[in-house]
């Protein structure tokens, strides 16, 4: 992605934020909403699940698609994930992280499982129009970092890593790549890729602590 495009993206985010003065409140309210929606799900109230869907489904489909690449598979992932959210809502414990984190983790796990069950090559059928090609996907992966709020600690700390480590971590989290796939794409021996990622994660934890 070019520097100009990135700057534009950030600019549009700033504009969005300044458009609403209560940006922080909004975030808090949203997470409280999700908490309440999960409680409703646990009681068997479908409106709770519907609220989660209305608020998050668009992003969840996009997150799943970055991993499984195909839109139809991403929707299948989200469908299964919502059924799991419904049946497991009673297990959500607020003391173990945010409702949002819990919901996204379910979608991510489901997407990763789908990816690992079929091989990436099967999923990425060359003639499939909706399939993201490798280069497009790598671009999306790096874009995820650029898109982070410019005040974000994660953005800053990822920025401090050297590029290969940053790429490795983003390929794993955003794209669902395995150690082996990352080593292949970065042209590194497997052991080296593993230890770079490990050291990158340590630096990131220290930076964000």
């Amino acid at each position: 992605m070019s520097a100009v495009a990135t700057a534009e993206l950030e600019y549009s985010q700033i504009r969005e934020c300044s458009g609403r003065e209560d940006g922080l409140t909004l975030v808090t309210d949203q997470s409280t909403d999700l908490d309440a929606a999960l409680v409703a799900c646990a009681k068997g109230d479908r409106n709770g699940l519907r609220r989660i869907f209305d608020q998050e489904a668009g992003r969840l489909v996009a997150v799943a698609q970055r991993i499984v690449r195909r839109r139809d598979l991403a929707e299948e992932v989200v469908q299964e994930a919502f059924i799991r959210i419904w049946t497991h809502a009673h297990q959500y414990a607020p003391e173990r992280g945010s409702a949002r984190g819990w919901i996204y983790a379910i979608v991510r796990n489901r997407a990763l499982n789908m990816l690992r069950d079929g091989s990436r090559e099967d999923l990425v059928a060359a003639d499939h129009l909706e399939t993201l090609q490798d280069s497009e996907q790598l671009e999306q992966i790096m874009a995820a970092w650029h898109r982070l709020d410019h005040n974000s600690r994660l953005k800053e700390c990822l920025g401090r890593l050297d590029e290969t480590r940053r790429r490795g971590i983003l390929m794993a989290y955003v794209g669902g790549y395995t150690h082996g796939e990352i080593a292949g794409r970065l042209r590194l021996p497997l052991g080296t890729a593993k230890s770079w990622i490990r050291r990158g994660l340590l630096t990131l934890r220290e930076c964000m602590a």
Partner: protein
């Protein structure tokens, strides 16, 4: 990498990034259930990376996707919070098929309600006989339905705080669970769905957090001596002090 506390933060990171193998994932998920330190490390790792997901451009979602989800939703499974019938060691499966999933979720409001009511009740009864415990019973929606005061002298008072529609061939029966070994014990029937003072059942002295429950049983009371009908309300006792 071994699943020992020194490695927890790194393993949590790799778990959240999806870099662990199947066997390691299973090991982590198993350990999370009983290891709060690991669970916290995973939660922290999740929150650390979550902004990468929440800042994504949302996809345009077709309403068909919701319909596909809605048609596949199962009935809510029961949660692990037991009802009296489910912990009874002697009864066969109770014919108690009302969904109980809401009980746990309502616990918080029940606790709040019980604190408020317990304080009020203790105050109001101090001039007469002192109950040993007070239990506020709530329905599945978390609404307060009744209050039980157990005096510990084989007498308990049940005050209904809402109207119950009881069919003619049914009756409301009050239960408590003095201990798992003992199983659920009947305190008596509420004739005509009215508040009542029940006495005559010789039971151990009521304890803090003892479970009380009202079920709908056939007229004359449960034929098995154990709760068999749907639960109308339940709650845990607090020691009156």
């Amino acid at each position: 990498m071994k699943l020992i506390p020194e490695n927890f933060s790194h393993i949590a990171d790799e778990y959240v990034l999806g870099l662990l193998g199947d066997a390691e994932v299973a090991e982590v998920e198993n350990e999370i259930e009983r290891n709060a330190v690991l669970a916290t490390a995973v939660a922290e790792a999740r929150e650390r990376f979550l902004p990468l997901d929440t800042t994504v451009d949302p996809a345009a979602v077709s309403p068909v996707l919701w319909d596909a989800i809605a048609t596949r939703l199962p009935q809510q499974a029961p949660t692990e919070v037991p009802s009296i019938a489910s912990v009874s060691p002697r009864v066969p499966i109770a014919e108690n098929d009302n969904p109980r999933s809401g009980w746990r979720a309502t616990a918080i409001s029940a606790i709040a309600a019980s604190l408020i009511l317990a304080v009020g009740l203790v105050w109001s009864v101090t001039r007469t006989v002192e109950p040993l415990v007070v239990a506020v019973l709530v329905n599945e929606a978390g609404e307060v339905q009744a209050v039980v005061e157990d005096f510990g002298n084989d007498t308990a008072s049940i005050r209904l705080l809402t109207d119950f529609a009881v069919p003619e061939d049914k009756t409301m029966q009050v239960w408590t669970l003095p201990s798992r070994e003992m199983g659920p014990m009947s305190l008596g029937l509420l004739e005509d769905a009215h508040s009542a003072r029940l006495s005559g059942s010789a039971l151990p002295r009521p304890q803090d957090a003892q479970l009380y429950e009202i079920t709908l049983e056939q007229a004359g009371g449960s034929p098995t001596g154990r709760p068999t009908g749907p639960i109308l309300a339940k709650g845990f006792a607090k020691l009156a002090r």
